[in-house]
Amino acid sequence: MGKTIAEKIFAAHRRDNPSGAHTVLDLDVVMCHEITTPIAINDLVERGLDKVFDPSKLKVVIDHVTPSKDSKTATQAKILRDWARRHKINDFFDVGSNGVCHALFPEKGFVRPGYTIIMGDSHTCTHGAFGAFAAGVGTTDLEVGILKGVCSFRLPETMKINIVGELPAGVYAKDVILYIIKELTVNGATDKVMEFVGPVVDAMSMESRMTLCNMAIEAGGTCGVCMPDQVTAEYLWPFIKDDYDSLAAAVADFATWHSDADARYCAELTFDVSNLVPQVTYGYKPDEVKDVGELDGTPVDQVYIGSCTNGRIEDLRQAAEVLKGCKLAPGVRGILAPATPLVYATAMTEGIIQIFLEAGFCVTNPTCGACLGMSNGVLAEGEVCASTTNRNFNGRMGKGGMVHLMSPRSAAAVAVRGVICDHRTL
């Protein structure tokens, strides 16, 4: 019997099997940010266990609220900063060099096919786009990861999600994943790895694959994963060129992680996206998704473009195509948060920032910000936001606010029209 990519990664990292049902894995990377790590650090200090298993395997960023907005967030940042310094963690990103973790860390080349990665952040599943097993965990798992370099998981079953057909113009990875979540429901992939395969995935950029894997958690998935290939190798090439004689050699090596043809899946689903139209959420759950036309005319107060789902350069380019030469609709606020300094700088060079500014957008520094209602665009009671983020939970972007999730291009169209609309009609 063949193995899935997740089973291969588990087999290569197995430290212990404490109950048969659980596997304790050795970790390649432990990622940390300032919201969930400081309590872990404080607890380790209190227990007299202020150690790290390997500083080179810790990747640390201040991203959720940055620069700090008040004394409490300043304290969180300071705890993380002092800890990184104390333990000589070189890969620490502070104000000026920081960005949204799941956009920044791939950009820095910290992810490889076959890696095991945890972070105290549910969207860690994003890194599965590189063929890694990457899972969000709580603070206790993070503490043990920091201290011992291990984490326990039930061996997850794998759901094979075959995406076929041809993605129509104006329909993106965000639309695909929203549609899949709608079909699976928010509980449909709980305790499962979501393996995204098929010609549509093969043709996707790394940015699009990250968008796809990013929202695996919204269907309950432990991890999203794509097969590492030529696209993966090209993205990672600046970081791996000393490890391989050629790109082809890297691609061949990556292929050893691919799921075997006779691997066993708990479910195999096929989605034909040839007739897919832009998707938008309604309600307070990410599986409450409709074709954009069904929400046509819904007024919004704010448009937010950014986050670990859709704050990368490809996303900004798509939005800028719509915004070029246009203005925000009267009464609509527009906020752009490029996900990383490199995204920001690239968007500057390409004239994209200028397009956003001329349209009337506020451009913020790279941060998670308003996605989880912490800063830079929190909604007031009764306000509505068209957002490229990942969660429309009640209160997510501000108490009493309503969030409609959509692609960057869809959000840009809403910014111009002031109401939810099909961007293809603009």
Binding site: S19, P38, I39, L372
Partner: protein
């Protein structure tokens, strides 16, 4: 070990997420105790008052996919600091479930039919968990029922050890 019994708070909805259990704006707190007043603050359910209802509860009974969304362990700590150490549900989101056991607390899964029965017995329900026998004893003013559940040995060891950190520090 923690206390695994007491009066139950019944939350009759599936997919209750961690943002509803503890909104993100409180994640800037650096102590677990500071979270205490904000338990279930953004949960909107008919007749549910987050200020009043969690006060006397020591057990939560709810439906499917409890604790979905964010990985924040704050959603477990806010229960812990309110003396709620047991959640009984039809199913849990993976991270929330693991966080419960990692803190030496119990996330118990019962069938949808058993959960229905608990809701029918409510609202004034007393729950006692017997970890050795793997049973939940539910008592109301008029009836008493026992429900069986299963826990694997690792989850039990985590509870006995007082959580994953104590377990892992000793073993790895």
């Amino acid at each position: 070990m923690k206390k695994f019994s007491g009066s139950a708070l019944l939350l009759d909805r599936s997919d209750i997420n961690t943002d509803e259990i503890i909104p993100a704006k409180y994640l800037t707190e650096n102590s677990k105790l500071a979270l205490k007043p904000y338990i279930l603050e953004d949960l909107k359910l008919d007749g549910f008052d987050p200020q009043r209802d969690p006060q006397k509860a020591e057990v939560i009974v709810t439906r499917a996919n409890f604790g979905c969304g964010s990985s924040r362990e704050h959603a477990v700590w806010v229960f812990e600091v309110n003396d709620i150490n047991v959640v009984i549900a039809e199913s849990f989101a993976r991270i929330f479930r693991q966080n419960m056991f990692n803190c030496g607390m119990l996330a118990i899964e019962l069938s949808a039919a058993d959960i229905d029965s608990l809701f029918e017995m409510g609202p004034d329900l007393h729950i006692a968990v017997n970890l050795d026998k793997e049973t939940v004893l539910a008592e109301s003013a008029t009836s008493q029922r026992t429900f069986a559940f299963t826990l694997n040995s690792f989850d039990k060891e985590l509870v006995a050890a007082g959580g994953w950190l104590a377990y892992a520090d000793k073993k790895y």
